[in-house]
């Protein structure tokens, strides 16, 4: 298994952990937004707010263009890429779609940062985002 997919697995696991076993759409949207917020908190001091916004936009673009089922999402978010809009959009999805969108967006964001500053520095900067979920509950806790 490549490092890249190992990281993706961690991100998916971390998201699943934050969502918890009883996943309603509000919880899913909240979990995705909280991870994005943590990533922001880790990166903004270093690359600035504008740098973070640019990375998020590019990630949205990449994940939407990869999956046809996210195409509609893409157009709306490109029009108004702000956090509240993104959250509102997530809340409109089915639970499965929202979770899929979240996983896609977060792993794409991570992969994008990796192509720019390399795997080890990316891991170093975002370590704290995944750290709590990886240290306690394993990914088996995924909701059925």
């Amino acid at each position: 298994m490549s490092t890249q997919s190992e990281e993706s697995r961690q991100i998916v696991a971390s998201l699943a952990h934050r969502v918890g076993p009883t996943a309603d759409i509000a919880g899913i949207a909240q979990a995705i937004m909280s991870i994005l917020q943590d990533m922001d908190a880790a990166l903004t001091p270093i690359i600035g707010q504008q740098g973070c916004v640019a990375l998020l936009r590019r990630s949205l673009h990449l994940s939407a263009s990869k999956h046809a089922r996210l195409a509609g999402v893409h157009d709306r978010v490109q029009a108004a890429p702000d956090r509240a809009e993104l959250k509102a959009l997530l809340l409109e999805q089915s639970e499965a779609d929202a979770l899929f969108f979240g996983e896609e967006l977060l792993t794409t964001f991570y992969a994008l940062l990796t192509t720019l500053i390399g795997p080890s520095l990316t891991a170093r900067l975002l370590r704290d985002v995944w750290a709590p979920s990886l240290s306690d509950t394993p990914s088996q806790e995924k909701s059925p």
């Binding site: 740098g51 500053i117 520095l121």
Partner: protein, 486 residues
């Protein structure tokens, strides 16, 4: 015991920089790294930062409106000194772009100070400081007083015991910039471009309380980072000559007696001759003779296709480590770089014999910007090497000009302690070789023009051509004995 303050000097971790700075970086100093785009300012800052920052006394790197931090991380990572593990531990990047965009210098200062108070850093970098200045100028805010800002920043950073670097693009050092006055140190980086050659140079224009090395010092940026080529330190006390003078064997039969018993130890010898006259063979024999006597040597070759590989003896000596090879194919060499390469090989091998083959190739290998000063450079190199106590043999291509008895095309003959000259002559439709010892400083030597030839064992020196005269003219005539009128 002295009650005066002791200024600690920090080791910058940049090879050669501490020497140029005059002993390291003064602790708690407030410095400016300046220069045009692409001259290595950010790299220099990063290299020092990674060398000096510790988790207890971290470094803060404030990025302002210069290079976007994401790119900086991307590119700086390519250097060996960049340690990912240090990020967010001993090194913290702090983005001030938004504060600077607002153009409020008081706010920028407040942010810097609050971060400094929070982390108690030993090192603070602001990159690029020029953008802070420009941002402040776009505002018509009377409170944005740049001199006051710089003065306060300098005072606060020193009070918090932080060694500070402002990094900025400045093109002329004559700018009347308040930073130049307030700063304790000014490190100016330059790029000198001539034709297709580019040479990086560094100047310490100011460093309070330090005997910096004046002038421009060349440096390179490689994957290991910046390396500054400080001039070789001049040892004021020359190694006293041991008496009786020790003489080195040259390895060429009969040449030692021509030199008056061998080459005095610590001498520099110039072997000048036309192409194909056997200068390189003589040089290789000199090293081989040293190796035979348990000495080690260093050879610097500057040919496009180095002929050391064609000389089996020399190749063996290099292979078995008895001779160190300096074969820098790096473009745009500077004299200090070569001297440093030579000196480090000399000290690594405790070498006593050094060969430079050839001065002509060396001149071509130098960056065009240094060629004008070639004689001066050569003089510095010879001085540095002989002060290191080694004996130096240099070869020099000598165009055959039979009307002109010169030993070196550079007018450098006076620099060397001894000279051997080689010549072609025409005798009975053959091209013969002759050589003579022209000079051995403070020593008697042979004044004969001897014929020699080259075979598989190297140079074989023969007799004088007593029946010929006018040898140095290249077309000797047979001397008619007993007929003084002709």
């Amino acid at each position: 015991m002295s009650t005066k303050v002791t200024i600690n000097r920090l080791a910058t971790g940049v090879p050669g920089l501490d020497e140029v700075l005059g002993g390291g970086l003064p602790e708690f100093s407030f410095n400016l790294i300046a220069g045009p785009p692409g001259c290595g300012k950010t790299t220099l800052a990063h290299q020092m930062m990674f060398a000096l920052a510790t988790p207890e006394r971290p470094a803060l790197f404030f990025t302002v409106l210069g290079e976007p931090p994401l790119k900086m991380l991307r590119y700086q990572q390519q250097f060996d000194f960049f340690d990912n593990e240090a990020i967010n531990q001993s090194i913290r990047y702090i983005n001030l772009a938004d504060d600077t965009l607002a153009g409020d210098l008081d706010e920028v200062l407040r942010r810097i100070v609050s971060e400094v108070e929070a982390h108690s850093p030993s090192l603070v970098f602001v990159d690029s400081f020029r953008s802070v200045v420009l941002a402040s100028q776009t505002q018509h805010n009377p409170n944005n007083n740049l001199p006051q800002f710089v003065q306060q920043l300098g005072m606060l950073m020193t009070t918090w015991q932080a060694t500070t670097f402002l990094i900025g693009e400045y093109f002329t050092e004559t700018d009347t910039n308040p930073i130049f006055t307030v700063a304790d140190g000014l490190i100016w980086l330059r790029q000198s471009v001539e034709r297709n050659s580019m040479v990086r140079k560094m100047e310490i224009m100011k460093m309070r309380g330090q005997p910096t090395l004046p002038g421009l010092h060349t440096f390179r940026i490689a994957s290991s980072g910046i390396k500054v080529f400080a001039p070789a330190p001049l040892n004021p006390v020359e190694t006293p000559m041991t008496l009786p003078v020790q003489r080195l064997k040259m390895g060429v039969p009969r040449l030692d007696e021509m030199l008056g018993g061998g080459l005095p130890r610590g001498y520099s010898l110039l072997v000048a001759g036309p192409s194909g006259s056997g200068k390189s063979i003589l040089a290789a024999t000199f090293l081989a003779e040293g190796a035979r006597n348990g000495e080690t040597g260093v050879i610097a070759v500057f040919e496009q296709r180095p002929n050391h590989s064609q000389n089996a003896t020399l190749a063996d000596l290099i292979l078995c480590g008895k001779v160190g090879l300096v074969d820098s194919r790096a473009p745009d060499l500077s004299i200090d770089e070569i001297v440093q390469l030579l000196l480090s090989e000399i000290s690594r091998l405790s070498a006593t014999r050094v060969v430079i083959d050839s001065l002509s190739g060396f001149e071509l290998a130098l960056a065009p910007t240094f060629r004008a000063d070639f004689r001066e450079s050569l003089s510095r190199m010879v001085t540095a090497l002989t002060r290191a106590g080694v004996s130096v043999l240099m070869t020099s291509e000598l165009e055959d000009r039979y009307t002109d008895l010169r030993f070196s095309p550079y007018g450098t003959a006076f620099l060397t302690d001894a000279i051997i000259v080689q010549r072609y002559i025409e005798v009975r439709s053959r091209l013969l070789r002759i050589m003579a010892v022209v000079k051995v400083r403070a020593s008697a030597h042979c004044d004969e023009l001897r014929q020699y030839h080259i075979n598989d064992d190297g140079l074989q020196i023969g007799e004088m051509l007593v029946d010929q005269e006018g040898l140095l003219g290249g077309r000797p005539t047979t001397r008619r004995t007993g007929d003084p009128d002709v």
